[in-house]
Protein backbone atom coordinates (compact mmCIF):
# COMPACT_ATOMS: atom_id res chain seq x y z
CA UNK A 1 0.00 0.00 0.00
CA UNK A 2 3.02 2.30 0.29
CA UNK A 3 4.46 2.74 -3.17
CA UNK A 4 7.99 3.64 -4.16
CA UNK A 5 6.85 7.02 -5.43
CA UNK A 6 5.02 7.65 -2.16
CA UNK A 7 8.23 6.94 -0.27
CA UNK A 8 10.04 9.32 -2.60
CA UNK A 9 7.47 12.02 -1.83
CA UNK A 10 7.88 11.45 1.90
CA UNK A 11 11.67 11.53 1.58
CA UNK A 12 11.38 14.87 -0.20
CA UNK A 13 9.10 16.18 2.53
CA UNK A 14 11.59 15.01 5.16
CA UNK A 15 14.52 16.38 3.11
CA UNK A 16 16.36 13.07 2.92
CA UNK A 17 18.26 12.02 -0.18
CA UNK A 18 17.64 8.33 -0.81
CA UNK A 19 19.36 6.16 -3.40
CA UNK A 20 17.26 3.96 -5.68
CA UNK A 21 18.24 0.92 -3.64
CA UNK A 22 17.26 2.65 -0.42
CA UNK A 23 13.92 3.65 -1.92
CA UNK A 24 13.18 0.08 -2.92
CA UNK A 25 14.22 -1.41 0.39
CA UNK A 26 12.37 1.20 2.38
CA UNK A 27 9.15 0.88 0.41
CA UNK A 28 8.88 -2.81 1.15
CA UNK A 29 10.01 -2.51 4.79
CA UNK A 30 7.65 0.35 5.53
CA UNK A 31 4.87 -1.63 3.94
CA UNK A 32 5.48 -4.51 6.32
CA UNK A 33 5.56 -2.16 9.29
CA UNK A 34 2.42 -0.34 8.21
CA UNK A 35 0.45 -3.54 7.83
CA UNK A 36 1.62 -4.56 11.29
CA UNK A 37 0.39 -1.31 12.81
CA UNK A 38 -2.86 -1.09 10.84
CA UNK A 39 -4.84 -2.85 13.56
CA UNK A 40 -4.52 0.21 15.79
CA UNK A 41 -6.90 2.29 13.71
CA UNK A 42 -9.38 -0.56 13.65
CA UNK A 43 -9.45 -0.96 17.42
CA UNK A 44 -9.28 2.69 18.47
CA UNK A 45 -12.82 3.88 17.95
CA UNK A 46 -14.05 7.43 17.70
CA UNK A 47 -15.25 8.13 21.23
CA UNK A 48 -11.93 7.64 23.01
CA UNK A 49 -10.04 10.78 24.00
CA UNK A 50 -6.53 10.87 22.55
CA UNK A 51 -3.50 11.04 24.83
CA UNK A 52 -0.78 13.41 23.67
CA UNK A 53 1.10 13.79 26.93
CA UNK A 54 2.16 11.14 29.41
CA UNK A 55 1.54 13.27 32.48
CA UNK A 56 -1.57 15.34 33.26
CA UNK A 57 0.13 18.71 33.74
CA UNK A 58 -1.36 22.02 32.56
CA UNK A 59 -0.34 25.69 32.62
CA UNK A 60 3.39 25.31 33.05
CA UNK A 61 4.73 28.80 32.43
CA UNK A 62 7.71 30.94 33.27
CA UNK A 63 7.65 34.57 34.35
CA UNK A 64 8.68 37.12 31.71
CA UNK A 65 12.17 37.75 33.05
CA UNK A 66 15.53 37.74 31.36
CA UNK A 67 17.65 34.68 31.98
CA UNK A 68 20.50 34.95 29.59
CA UNK A 69 24.19 35.57 29.29
CA UNK A 70 25.64 36.75 26.00
CA UNK A 71 27.52 33.74 24.65
CA UNK A 72 27.41 34.19 20.90
CA UNK A 73 30.90 32.73 20.48
CA UNK A 74 29.87 29.48 22.14
CA UNK A 75 26.58 29.40 20.27
CA UNK A 76 28.34 29.76 16.93
CA UNK A 77 31.20 27.40 17.81
CA UNK A 78 29.54 24.26 16.47
CA UNK A 79 28.45 25.82 13.18
CA UNK A 80 29.69 24.41 9.88
CA UNK A 81 30.27 27.93 8.54
CA UNK A 82 30.23 31.36 10.18
CA UNK A 83 30.67 34.86 8.76
CA UNK A 84 30.68 38.05 10.83
CA UNK A 85 28.92 36.52 13.79
CA UNK A 86 26.25 34.95 11.65
CA UNK A 87 25.58 31.44 10.45
CA UNK A 88 26.54 31.17 6.84
CA UNK A 89 24.32 28.90 4.76
CA UNK A 90 24.11 28.11 1.05
CA UNK A 91 21.78 30.11 -1.17
CA UNK A 92 18.15 29.80 -0.25
CA UNK A 93 15.79 29.01 -3.09
CA UNK A 94 12.00 29.31 -3.17
CA UNK A 95 9.76 32.29 -2.57
CA UNK A 96 10.77 34.40 -5.57
CA UNK A 97 11.35 33.25 -9.12
Amino acid sequence: MLTRSEVARLAALARIELSDDELDAMASQLDVILSAVAAVSEVASQDIPPTSHAVPLTNVMRPDVLNWVPRSQAMLAGAPDVENGRFRVPQILQEEQ
Binding site: D64, V89, E96
Partner: protein, 453 residues
Protein backbone atom coordinates in the same frame (compact mmCIF):
# COMPACT_ATOMS: atom_id res chain seq x y z
CA UNK B 1 3.85 44.63 -13.83
CA UNK B 2 2.11 42.89 -16.66
CA UNK B 3 -1.22 42.28 -14.98
CA UNK B 4 -4.40 43.24 -16.78
CA UNK B 5 -6.48 45.41 -14.49
CA UNK B 6 -10.18 46.10 -14.53
CA UNK B 7 -11.30 49.49 -13.29
CA UNK B 8 -12.34 49.50 -9.66
CA UNK B 9 -15.87 50.59 -10.54
CA UNK B 10 -16.21 47.87 -13.15
CA UNK B 11 -15.12 45.29 -10.56
CA UNK B 12 -17.81 46.49 -8.18
CA UNK B 13 -20.47 46.34 -10.88
CA UNK B 14 -19.90 42.65 -11.42
CA UNK B 15 -18.37 41.29 -8.23
CA UNK B 16 -18.52 41.39 -4.47
CA UNK B 17 -15.08 41.41 -2.82
CA UNK B 18 -14.43 38.99 0.03
CA UNK B 19 -11.56 39.71 2.40
CA UNK B 20 -9.59 37.69 4.89
CA UNK B 21 -6.84 39.23 6.98
CA UNK B 22 -4.07 37.53 8.89
CA UNK B 23 -2.15 39.85 11.13
CA UNK B 24 1.00 38.86 12.99
CA UNK B 25 1.74 40.94 16.05
CA UNK B 26 5.17 40.76 17.65
CA UNK B 27 4.74 41.09 21.40
CA UNK B 28 6.87 43.46 23.42
CA UNK B 29 7.64 41.04 26.22
CA UNK B 30 11.03 41.40 27.91
CA UNK B 31 12.03 37.82 27.17
CA UNK B 32 11.34 35.49 24.28
CA UNK B 33 8.43 33.07 23.96
CA UNK B 34 10.23 29.96 25.25
CA UNK B 35 13.43 31.19 26.87
CA UNK B 36 14.93 34.05 28.87
CA UNK B 37 16.73 35.73 25.96
CA UNK B 38 15.95 39.43 25.37
CA UNK B 39 13.64 40.49 22.56
CA UNK B 40 15.40 43.80 22.00
CA UNK B 41 15.73 44.91 18.42
CA UNK B 42 18.87 45.89 16.56
CA UNK B 43 21.70 44.38 18.61
CA UNK B 44 24.74 42.43 17.42
CA UNK B 45 23.75 39.36 15.40
CA UNK B 46 23.31 36.19 17.43
CA UNK B 47 24.01 38.03 20.66
CA UNK B 48 20.56 37.19 22.04
CA UNK B 49 20.49 33.47 21.54
CA UNK B 50 20.72 30.45 23.81
CA UNK B 51 20.37 26.68 23.31
CA UNK B 52 16.58 26.99 23.39
CA UNK B 53 15.97 29.67 20.74
CA UNK B 54 18.81 28.26 18.65
CA UNK B 55 17.05 24.89 18.75
CA UNK B 56 20.18 23.08 19.91
CA UNK B 57 19.80 19.33 20.43
CA UNK B 58 18.28 18.59 23.82
CA UNK B 59 16.89 22.05 24.50
CA UNK B 60 13.26 22.49 25.55
CA UNK B 61 10.77 25.38 25.46
CA UNK B 62 8.94 26.85 28.46
CA UNK B 63 6.01 29.19 27.83
CA UNK B 64 6.32 32.89 28.69
CA UNK B 65 3.35 33.64 30.97
CA UNK B 66 3.25 37.29 29.90
CA UNK B 67 2.82 36.24 26.28
CA UNK B 68 -0.17 34.09 27.18
CA UNK B 69 -1.62 36.92 29.22
CA UNK B 70 -1.11 39.32 26.30
CA UNK B 71 -2.77 36.91 23.89
CA UNK B 72 -5.78 36.55 26.15
CA UNK B 73 -6.07 40.34 26.51
CA UNK B 74 -5.93 40.74 22.72
CA UNK B 75 -8.56 38.01 22.40
CA UNK B 76 -10.82 39.66 24.93
CA UNK B 77 -10.44 43.03 23.19
CA UNK B 78 -11.64 41.34 20.01
CA UNK B 79 -14.61 39.89 21.89
CA UNK B 80 -13.28 36.36 21.49
CA UNK B 81 -14.04 33.26 23.49
CA UNK B 82 -11.04 32.09 25.50
CA UNK B 83 -10.35 28.37 25.25
CA UNK B 84 -10.79 26.53 28.52
CA UNK B 85 -8.19 24.05 27.35
CA UNK B 86 -5.84 24.20 24.38
CA UNK B 87 -2.51 22.92 23.22
CA UNK B 88 0.45 24.11 21.23
CA UNK B 89 1.23 22.30 18.00
CA UNK B 90 4.26 21.85 15.84
CA UNK B 91 4.10 23.13 12.29
CA UNK B 92 6.72 21.14 10.44
CA UNK B 93 8.59 22.71 7.54
CA UNK B 94 12.20 23.26 6.60
CA UNK B 95 13.50 26.77 6.34
CA UNK B 96 16.87 28.01 7.57
CA UNK B 97 15.35 30.82 9.64
CA UNK B 98 13.47 28.24 11.75
CA UNK B 99 16.11 26.77 14.10
CA UNK B 100 14.16 23.61 14.89
CA UNK B 101 12.79 23.22 11.38
CA UNK B 102 9.37 23.34 12.93
CA UNK B 103 7.50 26.29 14.34
CA UNK B 104 5.73 25.96 17.65
CA UNK B 105 2.30 27.36 16.97
CA UNK B 106 -1.30 26.42 17.61
CA UNK B 107 -3.38 24.45 15.17
CA UNK B 108 -6.96 23.38 15.76
CA UNK B 109 -7.08 24.56 19.37
CA UNK B 110 -6.35 28.32 19.35
CA UNK B 111 -6.27 30.16 22.66
CA UNK B 112 -8.90 32.69 21.52
CA UNK B 113 -11.64 32.17 18.95
CA UNK B 114 -14.94 33.46 17.58
CA UNK B 115 -14.64 37.20 18.09
CA UNK B 116 -15.97 40.23 16.32
CA UNK B 117 -14.97 43.85 16.02
CA UNK B 118 -16.54 46.88 14.37
CA UNK B 119 -14.44 48.87 11.91
CA UNK B 120 -15.63 52.35 11.05
CA UNK B 121 -15.16 53.72 7.60
CA UNK B 122 -16.71 57.15 7.16
CA UNK B 123 -20.18 56.99 8.65
CA UNK B 124 -20.40 53.23 8.22
CA UNK B 125 -19.46 50.52 10.68
CA UNK B 126 -18.43 47.13 9.31
CA UNK B 127 -18.43 44.04 11.49
CA UNK B 128 -15.21 42.08 11.09
CA UNK B 129 -15.64 38.53 12.37
CA UNK B 130 -12.55 37.07 14.10
CA UNK B 131 -11.74 33.41 13.54
CA UNK B 132 -8.92 33.02 16.04
CA UNK B 133 -6.01 34.51 17.93
CA UNK B 134 -3.19 32.09 18.51
CA UNK B 135 0.36 32.09 19.84
CA UNK B 136 3.51 31.20 17.98
CA UNK B 137 7.16 32.16 17.63
CA UNK B 138 8.99 34.42 15.22
CA UNK B 139 11.83 33.25 12.97
CA UNK B 140 15.40 34.46 12.59
CA UNK B 141 16.55 37.04 10.10
CA UNK B 142 18.10 36.11 6.77
CA UNK B 143 20.52 38.39 4.93
CA UNK B 144 21.12 37.42 1.33
CA UNK B 145 24.64 38.07 0.12
CA UNK B 146 25.70 38.44 -3.49
CA UNK B 147 23.29 38.40 -6.39
CA UNK B 148 21.18 41.52 -6.15
CA UNK B 149 19.96 40.85 -2.63
CA UNK B 150 16.97 38.90 -3.79
CA UNK B 151 16.53 35.34 -2.69
CA UNK B 152 16.59 33.68 -6.07
CA UNK B 153 20.02 34.85 -7.09
CA UNK B 154 21.80 35.25 -3.79
CA UNK B 155 25.15 33.54 -3.61
CA UNK B 156 24.70 32.60 0.02
CA UNK B 157 22.86 33.78 3.08
CA UNK B 158 23.68 34.76 6.63
CA UNK B 159 21.49 34.00 9.60
CA UNK B 160 20.92 35.98 12.74
CA UNK B 161 18.65 34.28 15.26
CA UNK B 162 18.14 37.21 17.63
CA UNK B 163 14.52 37.45 16.51
CA UNK B 164 13.99 33.67 16.58
CA UNK B 165 11.58 32.80 19.35
CA UNK B 166 10.17 36.29 19.86
CA UNK B 167 6.48 35.85 20.75
CA UNK B 168 4.07 36.34 17.88
CA UNK B 169 0.32 36.45 17.96
CA UNK B 170 -1.53 35.56 14.82
CA UNK B 171 -4.93 37.18 14.49
CA UNK B 172 -7.05 35.70 11.73
CA UNK B 173 -10.40 37.01 10.54
CA UNK B 174 -13.17 34.91 9.11
CA UNK B 175 -14.15 35.91 5.59
CA UNK B 176 -15.33 39.49 5.54
CA UNK B 177 -18.31 40.07 3.23
CA UNK B 178 -20.47 42.98 2.14
CA UNK B 179 -17.83 45.67 2.19
CA UNK B 180 -18.30 46.61 -1.46
CA UNK B 181 -16.44 49.71 -2.50
CA UNK B 182 -15.18 50.18 1.04
CA UNK B 183 -13.20 46.91 0.97
CA UNK B 184 -9.77 48.60 0.79
CA UNK B 185 -10.63 51.01 3.60
CA UNK B 186 -12.22 48.30 5.75
CA UNK B 187 -9.04 46.24 5.46
CA UNK B 188 -6.80 49.19 6.33
CA UNK B 189 -9.18 50.38 9.05
CA UNK B 190 -9.17 46.95 10.64
CA UNK B 191 -5.39 46.81 10.71
CA UNK B 192 -5.25 50.36 12.11
CA UNK B 193 -7.69 49.32 14.80
CA UNK B 194 -5.54 46.31 15.72
CA UNK B 195 -2.47 48.52 15.79
CA UNK B 196 -4.11 51.00 18.12
CA UNK B 197 -5.49 48.18 20.22
CA UNK B 198 -2.19 46.40 20.81
CA UNK B 199 -0.59 49.73 21.68
CA UNK B 200 -3.36 50.64 24.07
CA UNK B 201 -2.99 47.20 25.66
CA UNK B 202 0.77 47.83 25.84
CA UNK B 203 1.40 44.33 24.49
CA UNK B 204 3.24 45.37 21.34
CA UNK B 205 4.92 48.41 19.88
CA UNK B 206 2.64 47.83 16.93
CA UNK B 207 4.94 49.49 14.41
CA UNK B 208 4.25 48.21 10.93
CA UNK B 209 7.38 49.78 9.51
CA UNK B 210 9.48 47.75 11.94
CA UNK B 211 7.62 44.55 11.33
CA UNK B 212 6.02 44.46 14.80
CA UNK B 213 2.76 44.17 12.95
CA UNK B 214 2.62 42.31 9.65
CA UNK B 215 -0.37 41.72 7.51
CA UNK B 216 -1.25 39.06 4.96
CA UNK B 217 -4.18 40.08 2.80
CA UNK B 218 -6.53 37.49 1.31
CA UNK B 219 -8.80 38.71 -1.45
CA UNK B 220 -11.31 36.91 -3.63
CA UNK B 221 -14.21 37.99 -5.78
CA UNK B 222 -17.71 36.56 -5.93
CA UNK B 223 -19.78 37.28 -9.03
CA UNK B 224 -22.87 39.25 -8.03
CA UNK B 225 -25.55 36.85 -6.93
CA UNK B 226 -23.20 33.88 -6.56
CA UNK B 227 -23.19 31.91 -3.33
CA UNK B 228 -19.82 30.21 -3.53
CA UNK B 229 -16.58 31.88 -2.58
CA UNK B 230 -14.15 32.64 -5.36
CA UNK B 231 -10.54 31.49 -5.45
CA UNK B 232 -8.40 33.73 -3.31
CA UNK B 233 -4.92 35.14 -3.50
CA UNK B 234 -2.86 35.75 -0.39
CA UNK B 235 -0.61 38.80 -0.48
CA UNK B 236 2.15 38.51 2.10
CA UNK B 237 3.75 41.02 4.44
CA UNK B 238 1.92 44.14 3.43
CA UNK B 239 3.73 46.54 5.68
CA UNK B 240 1.79 49.79 5.87
CA UNK B 241 -1.84 50.76 6.26
CA UNK B 242 -1.83 52.37 2.88
CA UNK B 243 -0.33 49.25 1.33
CA UNK B 244 -3.10 47.16 2.88
CA UNK B 245 -5.74 49.26 1.13
CA UNK B 246 -3.74 49.39 -2.09
CA UNK B 247 -3.12 45.64 -2.11
CA UNK B 248 -6.84 44.96 -1.68
CA UNK B 249 -7.68 47.39 -4.47
CA UNK B 250 -5.02 45.98 -6.76
CA UNK B 251 -6.03 42.37 -6.19
CA UNK B 252 -9.69 43.25 -6.79
CA UNK B 253 -8.80 44.86 -10.08
CA UNK B 254 -6.40 42.09 -11.14
CA UNK B 255 -8.79 39.27 -10.30
CA UNK B 256 -11.66 41.22 -11.82
CA UNK B 257 -9.80 41.39 -15.10
CA UNK B 258 -9.03 37.65 -15.04
CA UNK B 259 -12.57 36.64 -14.20
CA UNK B 260 -14.14 39.06 -16.65
CA UNK B 261 -12.02 37.54 -19.42
CA UNK B 262 -13.34 34.10 -18.46
CA UNK B 263 -10.13 33.09 -16.74
CA UNK B 264 -9.50 31.38 -13.45
CA UNK B 265 -7.71 32.98 -10.48
CA UNK B 266 -4.74 30.94 -9.32
CA UNK B 267 -4.68 30.17 -5.62
CA UNK B 268 -1.27 31.46 -4.70
CA UNK B 269 0.87 33.53 -2.42
CA UNK B 270 1.65 36.94 -3.85
CA UNK B 271 4.15 39.57 -2.83
CA UNK B 272 3.38 43.23 -2.35
CA UNK B 273 5.67 45.55 -4.22
CA UNK B 274 6.22 49.04 -2.85
CA UNK B 275 5.57 50.44 -6.30
CA UNK B 276 1.94 49.47 -5.90
CA UNK B 277 1.37 46.03 -7.37
CA UNK B 278 1.51 42.37 -6.43
CA UNK B 279 3.61 39.65 -8.02
CA UNK B 280 3.08 35.91 -8.04
CA UNK B 281 4.91 33.86 -5.44
CA UNK B 282 4.64 30.22 -4.57
CA UNK B 283 1.62 28.48 -6.04
CA UNK B 284 -0.56 26.84 -3.44
CA UNK B 285 -1.74 24.15 -5.84
CA UNK B 286 0.78 21.83 -4.21
CA UNK B 287 -0.13 22.81 -0.68
CA UNK B 288 2.60 22.44 1.92
CA UNK B 289 2.00 19.47 4.20
CA UNK B 290 2.83 20.92 7.62
CA UNK B 291 2.15 17.71 9.54
CA UNK B 292 0.81 19.50 12.60
CA UNK B 293 0.70 17.51 15.82
CA UNK B 294 0.39 18.44 19.49
CA UNK B 295 3.70 19.82 20.84
CA UNK B 296 4.88 17.13 23.27
CA UNK B 297 7.43 19.43 24.92
CA UNK B 298 4.74 21.84 26.17
CA UNK B 299 1.79 20.92 28.34
CA UNK B 300 -1.75 22.12 27.59
CA UNK B 301 -2.98 25.55 28.65
CA UNK B 302 -6.15 25.60 30.70
CA UNK B 303 -7.00 29.26 31.21
CA UNK B 304 -8.83 29.55 34.50
CA UNK B 305 -12.04 31.56 33.96
CA UNK B 306 -11.28 33.59 37.08
CA UNK B 307 -7.92 34.58 35.62
CA UNK B 308 -9.56 35.50 32.33
CA UNK B 309 -12.02 37.75 34.18
CA UNK B 310 -9.15 39.38 36.04
CA UNK B 311 -7.48 40.09 32.71
CA UNK B 312 -10.73 41.43 31.29
CA UNK B 313 -10.75 43.98 34.09
CA UNK B 314 -7.33 45.25 32.95
CA UNK B 315 -8.49 46.08 29.44
CA UNK B 316 -8.17 49.72 28.46
CA UNK B 317 -11.08 51.49 26.83
CA UNK B 318 -11.91 49.82 23.56
CA UNK B 319 -10.21 51.77 20.74
CA UNK B 320 -13.44 52.03 18.76
CA UNK B 321 -15.37 53.32 21.74
CA UNK B 322 -12.55 55.62 22.63
CA UNK B 323 -12.51 57.10 19.15
CA UNK B 324 -16.25 57.68 19.22
CA UNK B 325 -15.97 59.33 22.62
CA UNK B 326 -13.04 61.57 21.67
CA UNK B 327 -14.70 62.65 18.45
CA UNK B 328 -17.78 63.73 20.33
CA UNK B 329 -15.80 65.38 23.10
CA UNK B 330 -13.60 67.23 20.66
CA UNK B 331 -16.44 68.19 18.33
CA UNK B 332 -14.64 67.32 15.12
CA UNK B 333 -16.33 66.40 11.89
CA UNK B 334 -15.89 62.90 10.56
CA UNK B 335 -13.43 64.30 8.05
CA UNK B 336 -11.39 66.23 10.61
CA UNK B 337 -11.27 63.22 12.86
CA UNK B 338 -10.41 60.95 9.94
CA UNK B 339 -7.29 63.04 9.27
CA UNK B 340 -6.16 62.33 12.81
CA UNK B 341 -6.70 58.58 12.43
CA UNK B 342 -4.73 58.58 9.21
CA UNK B 343 -1.52 59.62 10.98
CA UNK B 344 -0.07 56.82 13.11
CA UNK B 345 0.11 57.82 16.75
CA UNK B 346 -1.66 61.17 16.23
CA UNK B 347 -4.75 60.21 18.20
CA UNK B 348 -2.74 59.43 21.32
CA UNK B 349 -0.48 62.45 21.13
CA UNK B 350 -3.42 64.79 20.51
CA UNK B 351 -5.38 63.24 23.36
CA UNK B 352 -2.40 63.70 25.66
CA UNK B 353 -1.99 67.31 24.52
CA UNK B 354 -5.65 68.02 25.22
CA UNK B 355 -5.23 66.45 28.66
CA UNK B 356 -2.28 68.80 29.20
CA UNK B 357 -4.58 71.79 28.67
CA UNK B 358 -4.63 72.61 24.97
CA UNK B 359 -7.83 72.88 23.00
CA UNK B 360 -8.55 69.98 20.65
CA UNK B 361 -8.31 72.31 17.66
CA UNK B 362 -4.90 73.59 18.71
CA UNK B 363 -3.58 70.14 19.57
CA UNK B 364 -4.78 68.77 16.25
CA UNK B 365 -3.21 71.68 14.39
CA UNK B 366 0.26 71.24 15.88
CA UNK B 367 0.43 67.48 15.60
CA UNK B 368 -0.98 67.24 12.10
CA UNK B 369 1.01 70.10 10.57
CA UNK B 370 4.30 71.27 12.05
CA UNK B 371 5.07 68.11 14.00
CA UNK B 372 3.78 65.66 11.39
CA UNK B 373 6.03 67.37 8.86
CA UNK B 374 9.00 67.00 11.21
CA UNK B 375 8.26 63.36 11.96
CA UNK B 376 8.00 62.72 8.28
CA UNK B 377 11.32 64.44 7.57
CA UNK B 378 13.08 62.48 10.26
CA UNK B 379 11.37 59.22 9.43
CA UNK B 380 10.08 58.70 12.96
CA UNK B 381 6.65 58.29 14.49
CA UNK B 382 4.97 61.25 16.16
CA UNK B 383 5.51 59.88 19.64
CA UNK B 384 9.18 59.41 18.90
CA UNK B 385 9.75 63.13 18.33
CA UNK B 386 11.78 64.73 21.13
CA UNK B 387 8.83 66.83 22.23
CA UNK B 388 6.12 65.85 24.68
CA UNK B 389 2.40 66.49 24.60
CA UNK B 390 2.87 68.66 27.67
CA UNK B 391 5.44 70.82 25.88
CA UNK B 392 3.11 71.27 22.91
CA UNK B 393 0.36 72.36 25.31
CA UNK B 394 2.79 74.83 26.87
CA UNK B 395 3.62 76.32 23.49
CA UNK B 396 -0.09 76.77 22.89
CA UNK B 397 -0.51 78.40 26.30
CA UNK B 398 2.22 80.92 25.48
CA UNK B 399 0.41 81.63 22.26
CA UNK B 400 -2.98 81.93 23.94
CA UNK B 401 -1.65 84.42 26.50
CA UNK B 402 -0.15 86.51 23.73
CA UNK B 403 3.43 86.04 24.87
CA UNK B 404 4.37 84.70 21.47
CA UNK B 405 2.70 84.75 18.12
CA UNK B 406 2.18 81.92 15.71
CA UNK B 407 5.45 82.49 13.91
CA UNK B 408 7.42 82.53 17.18
CA UNK B 409 5.56 79.44 18.34
CA UNK B 410 7.05 77.56 15.41
CA UNK B 411 10.49 78.72 16.50
CA UNK B 412 9.80 77.62 20.06
CA UNK B 413 8.87 74.19 18.80
CA UNK B 414 12.03 74.22 16.73
CA UNK B 415 13.99 74.93 19.90
CA UNK B 416 12.33 72.17 21.90
CA UNK B 417 13.01 69.69 19.13
CA UNK B 418 16.62 70.86 19.07
CA UNK B 419 16.92 69.95 22.73
CA UNK B 420 16.96 73.47 24.11
CA UNK B 421 14.58 72.61 26.93
CA UNK B 422 10.98 73.42 27.75
CA UNK B 423 9.09 76.09 25.75
CA UNK B 424 9.54 78.75 28.46
CA UNK B 425 13.28 78.11 28.47
CA UNK B 426 13.43 78.31 24.69
CA UNK B 427 11.52 81.58 24.77
CA UNK B 428 13.91 83.00 27.28
CA UNK B 429 17.05 81.62 25.71
CA UNK B 430 16.16 82.74 22.23
CA UNK B 431 14.52 85.94 23.44
CA UNK B 432 11.41 85.25 21.45
CA UNK B 433 8.76 87.16 23.41
CA UNK B 434 6.44 89.44 21.46
CA UNK B 435 7.09 93.03 22.50
CA UNK B 436 3.79 94.28 23.90
CA UNK B 437 4.75 96.43 26.86
CA UNK B 438 7.85 98.02 28.30
CA UNK B 439 8.40 95.38 30.95
CA UNK B 440 8.56 92.72 28.35
CA UNK B 441 10.76 94.87 26.20
CA UNK B 442 13.25 95.23 29.03
CA UNK B 443 13.22 91.47 29.53
CA UNK B 444 13.82 91.01 25.84
CA UNK B 445 16.64 93.49 25.75
CA UNK B 446 18.24 91.98 28.87
CA UNK B 447 17.91 88.62 27.28
CA UNK B 448 19.58 89.82 24.10
CA UNK B 449 22.39 91.39 26.06
CA UNK B 450 22.85 88.28 28.15
CA UNK B 451 22.99 86.17 25.03
CA UNK B 452 25.41 88.46 23.26
CA UNK B 453 27.14 90.71 25.73
Amino acid sequence: MADELLSFDAVLERFDPVLGLEVHVELSTKSKMWCGCPTEFGNEPNSQVCPVCLGLPGSLPVVNAKAVESAIRIGLSLNCQIARWCRFARKNYFYPDMPKDYQISQYDEPLCFDGEIAVEVGEMAYQVPIERVHMEEDAGKITHIGGVGRIANADYSLLDYNRAGVPLMEIVTKTIHDTGAAAPEVAAGYVALLRDMVRALAVSQGRMERGNLRCDVNVSLMPKGASELGIRSETKNVNSLRAVADAVRYEMRRQGAILSAGGRVVQETRHWNEAGYTTAGRSKETAEDYRYFPEPDLVPLAADPAWVEQLRATLPEHPGKRRARLRTEWGFTQREFGDILAVPGALDTIADTVLAGATPIAARKWWLTELARRANEWGVALDELPITAKQVAEVQALLDTGQINDKLARQVIEGVLAGEGDPAAVVQHRGLTVVSDTGALEVAVDGAIAADP
